[in-house]
Subunit: 150 residues, 2 copies
Amino acid sequence: MVIVQQIPISRWVFCQLLQEDRAISDTSDTAAAREQGADFMPRFDAAGLLTAIAQDATSGEVLMVAFMDREALDATRRTGLAHFHSRSRGRLWMKGETSGHVLHVETILVDCDQDALVLKVRPAGPACHTGERGCFYRALDGDGLTRLDG
Amino acid sequence: MVIVQQIPISRWVFCQLLQEDRAISDTSDTAAAREQGADFMPRFDAAGLLTAIAQDATSGEVLMVAFMDREALDATRRTGLAHFHSRSRGRLWMKGETSGHVLHVETILVDCDQDALVLKVRPAGPACHTGERGCFYRALDGDGLTRLDG
């Protein structure tokens, strides 16, 4: 009876350790499946986020970069409109929810280890809250910035 | 004598509170300077990181996305080769330090609130560790992934 009890407990402890290890770092099998497989296995970081880059589907311009949690990813896939997770406000937001300048998502690309996405988008207006077409409207020039249209 | 001591202490406390507030959220003046100004004022997140997107300077393809701390940013600017901060290994790494597939940085674009960069690069070889030209070689297709070249 002692032996019968000991086996399940030690196995349970072993499985717990194994699961913890897997949660911290992929096994080589999981990493290979993520990199080469056909399964979508998004890898959210410690804060529960993926990096999401919105790129103009026509011009190739990188319009903006933001973060997605599971909720934002699901909302984006369900509606076809880009949703993100605001780290500062701690909530879901749809790009353009106030301005109307939504981003229609045509394609979602997934990177090798599935912790980042490129959204190929058709913007309904300026993608930047400043009114610029995209957020990257300045270049580093020496120690300062110059406008790309300047 | 009591009064003389009280003034510096209360001023010190006030300044500490003011500094803490500024560290948490920009004042409107600072936010405006970041968005519209010509000063490079990179805004590192709570973990001390910027998001950095490497984009092929010729084709416009987004090759990879990673993170930069101050050290990686300085190394990139000093050498003209893309350096990042590895979150998993907790250290500086130069893209291509093992493979030789470095990224020559032609231009660094800075976003509106200066917490993200686009590096316009000329890659010396495949940018992805898998041997692919870039990391975004698959698209989400229903609930699975399809290769872009497949």
